[in-house]
Subunit: 159 residues, 2 copies
DNA sequence: TATTGTTATACTCTATAACTATA
DNA sequence: TATAGTTATAGAGTATAACAATA
């Protein structure tokens, strides 16, 4: 029987009009693509998005403590521990004793860590440029500005 | 003993210069705030970000099948099943037999589902407006446009 | 054979409580 | 008592393989 004609070529008839106005809907999908893309670019270096961010922050701020780094990366301290374990085992950073406070560790990059951070940063730049191909610098800056607005602009959960 | 003077007021000395240029870094942080905020706004309705999106899509596209919805929401079919189980148990949607294809379910909203989708959408609009307080419509549109560019603009993993 | 929905499973990311050693 | 780092654990979210029913 020839009943298959009404099948339509799949998702072409699905409308997402009601969701199109929501920034969150678009950001989630874009974020998924971007993160997968970034992690693929970082894989040759044995890094993922978060471990890369941590390494760069340590290179840029040698001697900083784990609590400071966790705050800067907006992740919880317990979750940072395993990330740093990985970086340390890979010989990219060291956890050094702080004489002034024997509870704390000073995070420092090794030479290997600094070199890898540079290479990974270069790879990331290439990758992001490809993903945002043709996006003018001013538009890119605006997006970053709006992300900052969202992040800090918690109009007030209790306000 | 007065040795605490060198302690500094925590993260104020931490620089993230090297990460500031990366859209992914900012998007991830903004996304975390936005998603937490959205989920808080949706909690009174018993919805989360994904289940809300699914419900709205079903209201807007009654009769669609699960594979179509999973494609539209960019989630895997197995993960959609549990989301739909929740919506169905809450009496917001029904899974109806499709005569033409006895393997498939047609997803339809109940009256209760349609009403809840309207209320949740209104709440979301209020919440997102607060989070993006003062952001002009054209800038908002640009952000959405760039998100679309990122999502579709996979310059080519194999290209 | 291929596809729809499903189950089971695993892996990542994130969040919280509680412990230790220091302060 | 409070804080730095840690451990253990639980919860989301996401991804893949494999199955039954049907095409």
């Amino acid at each position: 029987m020839g009943e298959a004609v009404t099948k339509a070529t799949e998702a072409e008839s699905v409308s997402d009009d009601a969701l199109r106005g929501f920034i969150g809907y678009h950001m989630k999908r874009a974020m998924a693509v971007l993160q997968a893309d970034l992690n693929r670019a970082l894989k040759p270096f044995g890094l993922r998005m978060v471990s890369y961010s941590a390494l760069v922050m340590i290179v840029e701020n040698p001697g900083l403590r784990q609590t400071q780094l966790a705050d800067a990366l907006a992740i919880e301290r317990p979750n940072l521990v395993v990330i740093l374990d990985g970086l340390e085992e890979a010989g990219l950073i060291t956890r050094d004793k702080v004489p002034a406070d024997r509870r704390a560790w000073a995070l420092n990059p090794t030479l290997k860590g600094r070199k890898l951070a540079d290479k990974a940063t270069a790879a990331n730049r290439v990758d992001e440029a490809r993903l945002l191909k043709g996006l003018p610098a001013d538009k890119r800056a605006l997006v970053i500005e709006v992300m900052g607005l969202i992040e800090t602009g918690r109009g007030g959960p209790e306000a």
